[in-house]
Symmetry: C2
Subunit: 214 residues, 2 copies
Amino acid sequence: MAATETRLLLLGTVMLFEPVNGYQLRRELLSWQVEDWAHVNPGSIYSGLATLARQGNLARHDLVDGSREVAVYTSTPLGRREFEKLWRAAVETPDILSPLPFHTGMALMPLMSRTAVREALRARLANLDANARAQLAQERPAEAVPPHVLVLADLWMGMGQTEREWLVNLMARVDRGDFGLRGEPADWEAPADDPGWQMANDRQRYLELISRKG
Amino acid sequence: MAATETRLLLLGTVMLFEPVNGYQLRRELLSWQVEDWAHVNPGSIYSGLATLARQGNLARHDLVDGSREVAVYTSTPLGRREFEKLWRAAVETPDILSPLPFHTGMALMPLMSRTAVREALRARLANLDANARAQLAQERPAEAVPPHVLVLADLWMGMGQTEREWLVNLMARVDRGDFGLRGEPADWEAPADDPGWQMANDRQRYLELISRKG
DNA sequence: GCAGCCATGTTCAATGTTGAACACTGTCGA
DNA sequence: TCGACAGTGTTCAACATTGAACATGGCTGC
């Protein structure tokens, strides 16, 4: 399922802003310029939310907000466990040919504790090195592969090396306490025009409506 | 459409081996270890071929081969033009977040002439540099982005730089005549256990069956 | 007070993707 | 000669994705 990163993204973004509706998520994701990468057409968001709700990873609340009906989502304990699993997999598994899961994971890093982040990054580094060793050990002899394909292996090696250096740096920053992670004070505040601020009001109202319904 | 690289891959592989059936393509693609990246489940291949045929990019021939019915595909002039368009786009457009189209393009490089390859790689280099400049010019000020997202930009810059060096190297090799490209003698022969060899027999038989049907 | 327009929130038909499962053929040993 | 099994070639229902289009509300200017 290529949909893994969409699941991760939706689940994580709901956790950041819950309770939220689909339109708010879309607005926020657009402001992240996520359109550039992930599959976040309106349809994907709504059907993704529906799927996650069906699986019990999200709870759907059909609220009447003023004169309007809104479908508002919150995460469930199951969904939060699922998120951690997806997040770990995305961050621990290097994949040169689809960097998206990792980038999605980085964007959602503040939802994880410092310990968890540290462990996941360490695992990524180990896997990166294991991949590099495996590639040098070349299961397939060079003669079995045409030259124009062989040359791609050099690119991969280089990319792996570049990422490794960057990753070591990132791990050092995590170790010395950079970034506001889960259970820590935020290290950063969104600018005034961020849609996240507009959401805050709705969030409060949604919370009341949900508790009123029980 | 994320299906662009599937279209490119199928169209190109058909051109390499035509006339071919879906099973042969699948076998060949598996031997390329394409499963690791592209969406090449059996279903994708057959439905992809059907779509390309419907659009006139491929011709489908329903042959009776011995006691068996086989659906065999050949490329059309329209399809070959479409391939060139897709190939150029894949190779000329750098995209850090989905390297697949480029890798697919590289794998299919022998279908293009040396001039075309040279031009496309030059265009890629120009785009790579343009992207790097755009990123340095930072439309968004650093304060508008949380630190854990900002740090990804460093990774992208590094990746871009690594690819640039590799690309300059590759261009030099193309300039000095490496790789057997379209209209040139092959510079490489597949090992004896490559499914490409098994295909050669069927190819001849398919050709006869097609010409007999007219 | 109403016409026009943007913002909000969602649906849906068309299309693509997944991978298990089907159906058939050949072959090799018991 | 039978049955097991690997190889060949394809289909299909379930599911995901696409993005245009719908429906409604509120604001703004006239």
